[in-house]
């Protein structure tokens, strides 16, 4: 599936609107400026917060060889991390509430902790229908990159 389709689907699942959408586009532009590695997947980390609505805190962009996380919270600064998959994802912790892993509803929540080599840490949160999208990202992109246990 072309990059843009995956990203568009990720944005739709997260219910993202301007200006966060513009920040995602900027993150993609920076990604493409820095690497020729094609994007294979994407997910927006978000959570509900009452009066503030859904807070879209970061976008994860995945290629075959690394993950890139870009904060969506600061309109004036670019804030990206690149983490290689070469050493693999060491540990994934998944917590859910109100989710049956088949079809999400508005009460569904997933929280994923991803631990990379050298104790680097990332977190992805999803609510509502975004849970179904995150489930699919976990299956096709995150979990296949779990490292085989070995010496460090």
């Amino acid at each position: 599936m072309p990059n843009d389709d995956r990203v568009s689907q990720a944005l739709k699942a997260a219910g993202i609107a301007k200006p966060a959408r513009d920040r995602v586009k900027r993150a993609m532009a920076i990604y493409e400026a820095l690497t020729d590695d094609p994007l294979v997947d994407a997910v927006v980390s978000e959570y509900p917060s009452g009066d503030l609505g859904r807070i879209h805190e970061s976008v994860w962009l995945f290629s075959a060889s690394h993950a890139s996380v870009s904060s969506l919270l600061d309109a004036d600064e670019d804030d990206l991390d690149f983490v290689p998959f070469q050493a693999g994802i060491r540990h994934v912790v998944i917590r859910t509430t109100g989710y049956d892993w088949a079809k999400a509803d508005e009460k569904s929540r997933i929280r994923v902790e991803i631990w990379f080599a050298h104790e680097r840490y990332g977190e992805i949160k999803a609510s509502g229908v975004n849970c179904d999208w995150l489930r699919d990202v976990l299956r096709r992109t995150v979990l296949p990159n779990l490292a085989v246990l070995g010496s460090d």
Binding site: P48, G50, L52, S71, D74, T97, R111
Partner: protein, 265 residues
């Protein structure tokens, strides 16, 4: 390390884990980066912050009418809201928990500064600076800020700061609610403060010149014998701060004398 000896900054993460069952690694950094950005955003969007620039302009006009001197050294622009970076925040928790903890090895006043209560315990996650022309302007601005906070239903606290290293300022902390990422699900409501540092033009000049020396001292700990070590950078810089404060006091004395003569004449 014996239970009573204070850990170094390098030993701090291990000590936190062993002594308090707390951690201060990348996971806490990720949470802090997201939370501090949200706190900054919400502060910028608050009614208090939106009113601040206008209120400072009014304060300047009223002070000018009263004292026949401007309150600010130059036209006071919209204050800039600065967010504390992770490394500076991490160091601050170390100073509060360990190096500057007067109750060591017990918890400091207010309790151990650990995740997640640290968002309410560290008062300058977001801060701004207001620079006044004369020494009496510091109290004047502090009073205005307290009144403005009250107008917006917010608590505040005023701390006059006089450090032995020659730093003089008034810190006004305005406390309000903020929404940050929850520990498990959704969001968490916390009380956070925006720290407004009010200082004089002369002190601000010194601060900019000596910023590097202050940062080194904060990280490595002050030289305990600086008052006698006239070759040390601390001797020069710290006494310069004290001398300037004295000069500012003398300037105020002269100004008040002229004010009195002006009014009687």
């Amino acid at each position: 390390m014996s239970p009573r000896s204070r850990p170094t900054y390098e030993e701090y993460p291990e000590w936190l884990g062993t002594a308090l069952g707390a951690s201060i690694g990348h996971r806490e950094q990720v949470h802090y980066e997201a939370s501090s950005q949200l706190i900054q955003q919400q502060t910028l969007q608050s009614g208090f912050w939106s009113s601040l620039a206008t209120d400072l302009v009014e304060a300047n006009s009223e002070y000018l009418m009263e004292k026949a001197s401007p309150l600010f050294a130059a036209t006071q622009p919209q204050p800039d809201l600065v967010r504390k970076g992770w490394e500076s925040f991490r160091l601050k928790t170390y100073r509060k928990n360990v190096r500057e903890n007067a109750r060591w090895p017990k918890a400091p006043k207010g309790g151990w500064v650990t995740f997640p209560t640290w968002y309410s315990q560290v008062g300058d996650i977001v801060r701004t600076l207001v620079v006044v022309k004369y020494l009496d302007g510091m109290d004047y601005v502090a009073g205005r800020l307290v009144a403005l906070a009250r107008q917006h239903g917010l608590r505040s606290r005023v701390d006059p700061i006089a450090r032995h290293e020659g730093y003089y300022a008034t810190h006004v902390n305005v406390i309000g609610g903020a929404t940050i990422p929850g520990l498990e699900w959704d969001a968490l409501q916390v009380n956070v403060s925006v720290e407004i540092q009010v200082t004089t033009q002369l002190q601000e000049n010194i601060r900019q010149l000596l910023h590097f020396a202050y940062e080194v001292a904060r990280q490595e700990g002050a030289n305990p014998d600086w008052q006698w070590d006239f070759r040390s950078p601390e001797f020069r810089t710290n006494y310069l701060g004290h001398v300037l404060h004295y000069i500012e006091g003398m300037i105020m004395s002269v100004r008040e004398q002229y004010d009195a003569e002006r009014r009687s004449g």
